[in-house]
Homo-oligomer: 251 residues x 2
């Protein structure tokens, strides 16, 4: 039987989603918890391989098992075997054709900035501390051209070996709540570090270091140096993964 | 010269405000940081001696120094010598008659509940996880009688040796934001664990375990067992300390 999991994690103490030679990964913690319960190793496939330090409120993963544990009980079975910083929010049975990564038709990421003279002691691990004031109107103007279907080559880390850099971004929203600024991005798919490069570019626009047309230009030229810095991992949150048929619908 | 500090901290890794035989305290971290800068020990006096695990957004403390560091620069001087989970938000010169604790005329505490079937992986250290639904209307009804000047003996931990248990509470506010419920309490002064016992009692009212008149009865009888459990420390946040003359006004 194939089981889908809806997972929340604080990425701070982990080497990222995927198994790493140095440091524990989220995938490893899940596979070890499943092995503790069933006595057998089961590969867990995630919708997105989040980097070290990246958080998730709505990561989705799947695995196959012959266990007789009812699908919705996997949540209760797994949580006691996981660290407090990883929680299974939902579990459900899915068709054998469901794949957490390949069946996904879209994702929602949130990048969080904390704009204040002094960093946050309480939530510094969950937001990028920016000391200089950011103009959200300028950021919104610049972000407009990011939506649509474009070649996002300028917003892809140079280490990536992806050939097709065309993607479709459905919406970009920027909101301010006191010292917190959130950048919400929804799209059909993302290149490696695409949201973090967008977040870094928008920060530079917000503090007046880059003009508002820089994103349009970067998309046009495809040159990485037309975009801004890669914002740090710890401000990024994977909020949701979308499927044509939501595995957790109605729960 | 007397310096006042406005301090934010994540209480998770600390043994509380005050020096403890086991584990590091916030006070200790501050005194060590000051000693690293000035080469001399200076006692730091806090407005409230928060327990292990309790957080602060607006703790206030003072210390005396002969250092020539300008008062408002103490913030920048201290932060690099402190762990990331303690940040000085403001620093200012105050009169020699100012005392962080004895000059305070009021405090604002916030208690945070997280009401959901599964605990929060991201913010579990900052809120009390309650699995059962809480009725905020019932909580508000019960909380009404908490305001005013009363003998709060029923809301004081038995370990306390305070004789006068009369205090004045100015306001109690309960708000829900998705799975988060916040309880904001402002008062002139509080007994030991008073806000945590109120938070525990209101949780029991919210899940239907105690009637809404239980707080009025507990105040009337002064019996600790008429009130509910002491809510855990990690949901409590010291938000602000009030002074007739705000040391940080205008900064």
């Amino acid at each position: 039987m194939r089981i889908a999991l809806l997972i929340e994690y604080d990425g701070t103490p982990y080497a990222g989603w995927q198994w790493q030679p140095n440091g524990r990964s989220i995938q490893q913690c899940l596979e070890e918890a499943i092995e503790q319960i069933t006595g057998r190793f089961h590969r867990v496939h995630g919708a997105g391989r989040t980097d070290a330090g990246v958080h998730a409120l709505g990561q989705v993963a799947h695995f196959d098992t012959e266990s007789s544990i009812p699908p919705q009980k996997w949540r209760h079975a797994l949580n006691p075997h996981l660290p407090d910083s990883i929680r299974i929010r939902q579990s459900a049975a899915v068709e054998d054709t469901f794949h957490a990564r390949f069946s996904a038709c879209g994702k929602h990421y949130r990048y969080v900035y904390y704009v204040a003279p002094v960093a946050s002691a309480m939530l510094g691990r969950h937001a990028w501390h920016v000391e200089r004031a950011m103009d959200t109107d300028l950021m919104r103007q610049a972000a407009e051209s990011f939506c649509g279907t474009h070649d996002y080559a300028a917003f892809c880390s140079s280490g990536s070996d992806v050939k097709d850099t065309v993607r479709t971004v459905k919406s970009v929203m920027i909101e301010a709540h006191g010292p917190w600024i959130t950048l919400d991005v929804e799209g059909e798919g993302f290149l490696y570090n695409m949201v973090r490069i967008l977040a870094g570019t928008l920060m530079e626009v917000g503090i007046g270091k880059r003009p508002t047309d820089c994103i349009a230009k970067a998309l046009q030229t495809g040159q990485r140096d037309e975009a801004g810095v890669t914002a740090p991992a710890h401000g990024l949150h994977m909020m949701a993964v979308f499927y044509a048929d939501d595995p957790f619908f109605g729960q």
